[in-house]
């Protein structure tokens, strides 16, 4: 049999029992942590452990998150062989991480987005709000922070825009195409629809909307718009203690909340923006706010972490979605999708907060 002495058996038994006990303790620790279940219930994908980034992030720092392009919940990019996480989802996960990480002392959210779906914009707004309860969040606007992009931004503690940034576009939109005349009169094609209720084929491109359809859609739009306006008002007035100033801010916001686009400078006047400046100014402000909130002494700027890019197999083997799409849309200007109505470009999405 195996060479052994009686004295080795207690050692082996001890090792086995201690290891099992440690496993039990690890399990208890993980399962009793309240955040863990929330984190994974939200469908967050597992992330590979990066030792170098762990070493780097031991010290207090600021976190930069970049929200670019369409705010949608679906896969990112414009298609491709491999499903990618949308930028909005990546930012939401980044916000969750920043909220939980005690070494993150503030979040700089750089936004360059025309908006997106209502639900995803609302999710981002809620995520920013949650982070904002624990640590300062500053938004730095790029070229465009409109509609759903602004919906996300208004939950931040401070909004900084460039003078020429295009922002606001506070409104909700549903669009469709009415192809009935083209199909019926020009092509002689007659669509046949069998439906369970009179609104089941609402916004169908095969027929002209009825007044009842329009009224129904309008209630939908009005409801979402009211939520948008309330969210912007709540976000932009939460730090104003004086009632008169508060009313003045509400009035100035409502004056521009008709879907119009404003510049960063006009946004400052309307109370949609706190300060004019670039990303450097935003970093400086965030630094001040973080130091004040967490009582960090010293004049040095806190390091700004840009976050790691998730490993993308498709990109790694040269099949990134952008290269594929640029081939498919060769007739359109570089980097742009054809200007089709939203309903045609994104058939699964209905309600939009878009510029």
């Amino acid at each position: 049999m195996v060479p052994s002495e009686p004295s080795t058996r207690p050692i082996a038994l001890g090792l086995l029992l201690i290891s099992l006990f440690a496993l039990g303790l690890g399990l208890f620790n993980t399962l009793s942590a309240p955040k863990a279940s929330v984190k994974y219930a939200s469908g967050k994908p597992e992330q590979a452990l990066d030792v170098s980034s762990l070493l780097k992030k031991q010290q207090p720092h600021l976190q930069l998150l970049e929200l670019t392009g369409m705010i949608t919940m679906g896969e990112g990019g414009e298609g491709g062989l491999f499903e990618q996480e949308s930028n909005a989802m990546t930012v939401r996960h980044g916000l969750e991480d920043a909220e939980e990480d005690n070494n993150v002392k503030g979040v700089l959210l750089r936004i360059n987005s025309p908006g997106g779906t209502v639900a995803m914009s609302q999710e981002l707004n809620e995520a920013v709000k949650r982070v904002s309860l624990k640590k300062p969040v500053v938004v730095s606007m790029g070229d465009l922070t409109a509609s759903g992009g602004y919906y996300t931004a208004c939950a931040a503690d401070k909004i900084i825009a460039n003078p020429g940034t295009l922002t606001a576009s506070i409104g909700v939109i549903i669009s469709t195409m009415n192809l009935s005349e083209l199909l019926n009169n020009k092509l002689g094609v007659h669509a046949v629809t069998i439906k369970s209720g009179r609104f089941k084929d609402i916004l169908s491109p095969y027929r002209t909307p009825t007044p009842a359809d329009v009224q129904l859609i309008q209630t939908l739009i009005d409801d979402s718009y009211q939520d948008f306006l309330n969210t912007v008002v709540a976000g932009r007035t939460r730090f104003i203690k004086d009632a008169a100033l508060r009313q003045k801010r509400i009035a100035s916001i409502k004056a521009v909340a008709d879907g119009r686009i404003v510049t960063g400078r006009q946004g400052l006047t309307a109370g949609l923006v706190d300060e004019i400046g670039d990303q450097e100014v935003a970093v400086a402000r965030l630094n001040e706010m973080a130091k004040q909130r967490f009582h960090i002494k010293g004049s040095d700027l806190l390091p700004l972490e840009t976050g790691e890019k998730r490993f993308d197999l498709a990109e790694w083997i040269g099949l990134n979605s952008k290269s594929i799409v640029s081939g498919l849309t060769a007739t359109t200007p570089a980097g742009q999708l054809p200007r089709l109505p939203l309903s045609a470009r994104y058939p699964n999405q209905l309600l939009w907060m878009m510029e």
């Binding site: 195996v2 060479p3 058996r9 762990l54």
Partner: protein
């Protein structure tokens, strides 16, 4: 009475094999290779035990709601036993192709014991559970050490079974990997050719 003696013999064998594999692997494996009845049963137990722990380890690392743990444990044990058998048959088959004896039971026995270091994963979780920041780094480091330890023991198991030296074991381990790459390239080339033939 006989039953008690048998279970005590099994428990002693379990503890002796654990201590021996962890601290005197070469001597222990040589001794296990000469044994007849108990070692194979012990190796099955170790594989089942280590595979059964896997879902708990995963859960402790990642968190989540253990709704299907009752199903995950038996499935993990089953998949552990199946993959253990599959890899062993692959290596035994390779050895047989090169005119070595098949020795499947011996290989299964020794390779089963090579998984013993995985039992120590609990220790590594202690680092993660109790030390913030550096604890995670230590957890990763010790997990890597356990993984490397198991690979070395697995290589020793192959070496002891077929009386091979380290270089030969490395070739045996590298061959299936190399062949799978070649087969994959052939398969891609074959499909590509078929595609060219059928496309207009």
């Amino acid at each position: 009475m006989i039953k008690t003696r048998q279970s005590s013999h099994f428990l002693n064998g379990l503890l002796d094999s654990m201590y021996g594999i962890l601290f005197h692997p070469a001597t222990t494996m040589a001794a296990l290779a000469c044994e007849e009845s108990l070692p194979f049963g012990l190796s099955v137990f170790w594989i089942a035990f280590v595979s059964g722990l896997a879902p708990f380890i995963q859960l402790a690392i990642q968190g989540g709601t253990p709704t299907f743990l009752w199903l995950a444990v038996p499935l993990s044990i089953l998949s552990g036993l199946v993959s253990w058998g599959f890899v062993s048959i692959l290596i035994a088959g390779l050895a047989y192709a090169f005119r070595q004896p098949f020795y499947l039971e011996k290989l299964l026995t020794l390779s089963g014991f090579s998984t013993i270091p995985w039992v120590l994963m609990g220790f590594t979780l202690l680092f993660k559970a109790s030390l913030a920041g550096w604890g995670t780094i230590l957890f990763v480091l010790f997990s890597l050490i356990i993984w490397l330890w198991t690979v070395i023991l697995y290589s020793m198991a192959i070496g002891k079974t077929y009386q091979m030296h380290a270089g030969q074991v490395l070739i045996v381990l590298a061959m299936p990997f190399g062949m799978s790459v070649i087969w994959m390239a052939w398969l891609v080339g074959f499909i590509g050719n078929i595609q060219q033939l059928v496309s207009p």
